[in-house]
Symmetry: C2
Subunit: 395 residues, 2 copies
Amino acid sequence: MDPQRASELAEVYRKELQESVIPFWAEHCPDPEYGGFFSCFDREGNLYDTTKNTWVQGRCAYMFARLCDEVEARDEWLAAARRGIDFINRYCFDEESGRMHYTVSREGKRLTRPWTIFSECFAIGAMCQYSKVTGQSKILGQARQLFDQTLELANDPTLDSCSYPEDSQSISHAIPMILLNVTQQLRQAGCGTAYQPVADEMLQRIFNLHLHPEHQAIFEYVAPDGSLLDSPMGRVISPGHALESMWFVLHEVRDREDEKLRDQAVETVEWSIARGWDEEFGGILYFLDYEGSPSPFLEWDMKLWWVHIEALYALLLAHHLSGRDDLLAWFERVHSWTWEHFPDRQYGGWLGYLHRRGDIASTAKGNMWKTFYHVPRGLLLIWKLLEEIASGTSG
Amino acid sequence: MDPQRASELAEVYRKELQESVIPFWAEHCPDPEYGGFFSCFDREGNLYDTTKNTWVQGRCAYMFARLCDEVEARDEWLAAARRGIDFINRYCFDEESGRMHYTVSREGKRLTRPWTIFSECFAIGAMCQYSKVTGQSKILGQARQLFDQTLELANDPTLDSCSYPEDSQSISHAIPMILLNVTQQLRQAGCGTAYQPVADEMLQRIFNLHLHPEHQAIFEYVAPDGSLLDSPMGRVISPGHALESMWFVLHEVRDREDEKLRDQAVETVEWSIARGWDEEFGGILYFLDYEGSPSPFLEWDMKLWWVHIEALYALLLAHHLSGRDDLLAWFERVHSWTWEHFPDRQYGGWLGYLHRRGDIASTAKGNMWKTFYHVPRGLLLIWKLLEEIASGTSG
């Protein structure tokens, strides 16, 4: 990318982060009374549900701590992160199992039972970031302990599954993907190479089991040996997930001398955007069936905020590390569509759910899943990478 | 309705049932090798998944048996129903709990665990219809036994819930609605008034807990005492469900002298269609939030096949029993939109999932939930009622 263009764009991403996205969420999401974070807001910022999802608690605490580290050391952001982690520790763990509830009430009363390992992973991320920005080692110790426990859970293929044990024959790409990301957060928080073997295992799982170069695709659900499943779930392609996964991978291999793995990740970025791009209406489709059969997901053709922001960073990083012009062209294409459709110029923040044509499908500014996470993280990553490109620093 | 118009329309509904919907499903859904029914077909009828959902097994067996009873005593339909029930009895029950698996493989290997009571309810319906058409009392005995067991399950508010027991504070309209319908099937199969107390209880639950006349709406999820829940789930309105429920109720009260209950059901039909109708694009919305906050369901604004066919029968029956012209006008309005959008003139059967504007969202002709059930049942009911109206028989 031309340094001049990179410099202009860096300002666009910085401004969006600092003048639209952070103000909306910093104003609305921290709960001043009970700590922790709300997330169910309509477009204008009105709270329509006070239930607290534990994913949200970890994600928001992580993001506020990260802003302190990389944008500005603001007391209110650090306090929000602290109050988020306190809320998690006080209310979000099930005493009996040690696992995290899925949702709790505003006051912290448990509501719904633990579900897979994501609540734990986001809590670990928050603890790592908080430890990194404050230098507190005690909280990093807690993160490490929680990670050990989470790894064990993740190895149980029947965890919270509706399937009978003998039929737990599918494994999910989401698991090695999030665990790889968590090892990166532990490393950045000061754990050195302690989790390198785990990261290596997750890379192997992603590349050897879920990525099928002969099909130019990452399959979200495969058999434990990586073979393809002849079922609707077995044919699920999630372009957004594949792209997000590949930037985790690119962070991992950037500093290694593993050019082969880097090139494979860059290639997968290109395959994923080419497959996911909607030639008819623009934007990136949410889910595809590899063979073009009907998707099991009714929302398959919707355009989602997280898919687009994750795609933008994956494309820019893959372009930057490879120098490939086709990836730059893809970045510009996705950039145009994204900026035309997602930012909410009227009330701040980004819209989340668009119909295939780009019109608004839901006015939710936040819910149990859309919160202060993908958009600010992506804007921050892209802004910083664009500044690096503008200043001519090598990748 | 004018008898001439009723007569014309009766032919439209009969023809659609006999010349488009039955041929598509009778050709594709029975599994000649293992018995039972497939349901995952694309628009053209290609099978894209051989998994057998146990809802589907009961629903299809019920429908084929009912066709023998009310359309024509065809050997192939009776055989399909028989093979469906055999498949259920051979493969679909969990030996340990006596409950029904949620899905099994083509060959009948259990795949996913029991989930709430619908599999059982649809199986009971199939057994009742088969007993009615063949006169076999043994299978009715099985239906009765399964119903007793299912009623017990239905009274456990924590059944298969993700909530902690102390927070199981919401009850679902779907439960009394389906149980009312099952008591009607038991009655028609020859059980007389044995289940009248159950039917009465379900009527009470629907009218006293879920229907809130002061809000002119049926709330799908309420507190056990019927009070409203201040949450997205507590605000869910499902116009299609409300309309289907009201025709179950109208069948129940038609022959009683309960004019008050009948009038209340007719009124609720009008409230539900008025609230659910999409003034902008036509058709009936899938889910609404009572206060207009963002729906927890991304598919809230889609137009679904079952909503429209159930609405048509509810509107026609409510009009017929009340003589209200506004309900006839609604019937004609929904009729036009439905017939313009759902029937698949190219490959037969009905499409299932349309975007808000009426364009196709999924090319699935069938899946785990769309099968040989709502459309043929609705077409049959409407055809027969239109013939009754055409012949001047009183309601």
